[in-house]
Amino acid sequence: MIRLWVPLFILGVWSVMAIIGPALPITPNHIDLTQILTTPSATAWLGYDDIGRSIGDRLIVGARTSFLVAFSVVFIASIVGSCLGIIGAYWGGWVDHLLIRIIDIFLAFPGILLAIALAGAMGPGIENVVLALACVGWVGYARLARSQVLAIKEADHVTAARALGASSGRIMFRHLLPLLSAPLIIELSFGVASIVIAEAGLSFLGLGVQPPDASWGSMIRDGTRYMLVAPHVVIAPGVALMLVVFAINVLGDWMRDWLDVKSLTRER
């Protein structure tokens, strides 16, 4: 049970901070020059950064950034991806062929490389990060939905629905989609983790959120310059990031065992 409650607690804190962040009495962009690189103390639990801003406050804003990006990207990518996957597999023929070719082309760019290039071309900013990551992220869902539909589209209940005169759209979304939900949910949960890392990575490279807005990735980047004198500046956002990703991965593993679809999703 520890595998369920610990990650849920971490993710709960993360989401609550992200959602109620703006209502909290925090001053993430307030610069206090007397506090530059102050180490953690009783009054400021996480200390201050290189221009005297509260790291704790900035972590909360950063949580909001990563939460927002992760959920927008996963939302867009999973809907677009699974729709395309279902349509391709259900219709087959040249539609499916085209889909496979497009998927193959996108998969030929390793990891977040294409997202880095896209974000680099479109210019920095949170919307462009979401767009770039969604452009890359839909492929996984499309592939998953496609392979699942191929396996179940000849099932008896689908034939029955067709015999009863159900339209293609109805069959796809009422009779096929619900059967995909278990593997899709697992893909979604791991997807959130990889998007959280990807957003922080893009921000680390300077392609994400722009200053003075905070992202955990850009906080790590800014902190690396003061590692020797003030290691807390790098450690705080890194621990936050790792806890969230760790929690999602543990939760994803737990769900995979619970829903028992281990053989359906690919090993990570």
Binding site: R101, I116, G201, L205, I220, L241, E267
Partner: protein, 309 residues
């Protein structure tokens, strides 16, 4: 077998064509006039026109694409806007560093993952197994752009054993390779563990044990040989993660490879180089996947029979 290789080769060529088109389109995603972006809006109109002509940007899109593909066939990736040198030359200069980093990371990953994964599987449900899997979970959760600074802090600043950055001898390779190799080590040890677990209960293992083979021989001669096949393909796929991880790792350590070249080019808005680096990295990835596929088919005849096309 020849038929299988040819079919895979044909589909790889098709993918390369698609990738090239996509990379070409990347340039046209730049909001506004790319010339303005590259030279600044205050640049003299004659200069702008000259650059536009030089880059062929005044032509219609499909002609530009044709020209682009034509030049690619001659391995001409254009010239850098920043330095005026051929992109291919710059890539070739930077490539050995990335290769070295990748080799270092894979070596570290394998040195860690094989003993860890095999041992965890053989001692399933013990502290060793739990510890190894906890390491694996931490390894996949720790982002390399955080691990890198931590390693610099520990290994270079506090202990002073390794240089902070740059590429200068074997010592300077240690920290970047560790940064890049950790995630791979984590994923690989999980794979190896589950692969070994899968075969360990097979009949042929029981036979080997029954005929009195020692534990070492059973594991290395019988279990591993069968467990490693699926690991091989996944290793190929993991190589992709390695390549994109190299972009961030090289930036952290100022490692003069293809990855840091790409980020520098993005910052300098040197788009021909951005296009060149991304194309180069994907081509490598496609090539490696092709090789793993063929190796896999060579090792396991069932694969090439399953895909007769």
């Amino acid at each position: 077998m020849t038929k299988f290789v040819l079919a895979r080769l044909a589909s790889a060529l098709l993918i390369i064509f698609g990738v090239s088109c996509l990379v070409f389109m990347l340039m046209h995603l730049i909001p506004g006039d790319p010339i303005d972006v590259m030279l600044g809006e205050t640049a003299h109109p004659t200069d702008k026109d000259a650059l536009r002509k030089a880059m062929g940007l005044h032509l219609p899109l499909h002609i530009q694409l044709l020209h682009y593909l034509q030049r690619l066939l001659h391995l001409d990736l254009g010239t850098s806007i920043h330095s005026g040198r051929a992109v291919t030359t710059i890539l070739l200069e930077r490539f050995p560093a990335t290769l070295e980093l990748g080799a270092g990371a894979i070596t570290i990953a394998m040195l860690v993952a094989f003993p860890l994964g095999i041992f965890a599987a053989l001692r399933q449900h013990t502290v060793i197994d739990a510890g190894a899997m906890a390491f694996a979970l931490t390894g996949v959760s720790i982002p390399n752009f955080w691990l890198g600074p931590l390693l610099i802090m520990g290994g270079a600043l506090w202990l002073g054993w390794f240089p902070v950055s740059g590429r200068n001898g074997l010592l300077s390779l240690v920290l970047p390779a560790l940064t890049l190799g950790t995630a791979m080590a984590a994923i690989l040890s999980r794979m190896i563990r589950s692969a070994v677990l899968e075969v360990i209960h097979e009949d042929f293992i029981r036979t080997a044990q029954a005929k009195g083979l020692g534990a070492t021989q059973t594991v290395f001669r019988h279990a591993l040989r069968n467990a490693l096949l699926p690991v091989l393909t996944l290793l190929g796929l993991q190589f992709g993660a390695l390549l994109s991880g190299a972009v961030i790792t090289e930036t952290i350590f100022s490692w003069p490879g293809i990855g840091s070249l790409m980020i520098e080019a993005i910052q300098q808005r040197d788009y021909p180089i951005v296009q060149g680096t991304i194309l180069w990295i994907s081509l490598m990835y496609i090539g490696i996947n092709l090789v793993t596929d063929v190796l896999y088919a060579l090792a396991d005849p069932r694969i090439r029979l399953r895909h007769p096309s």
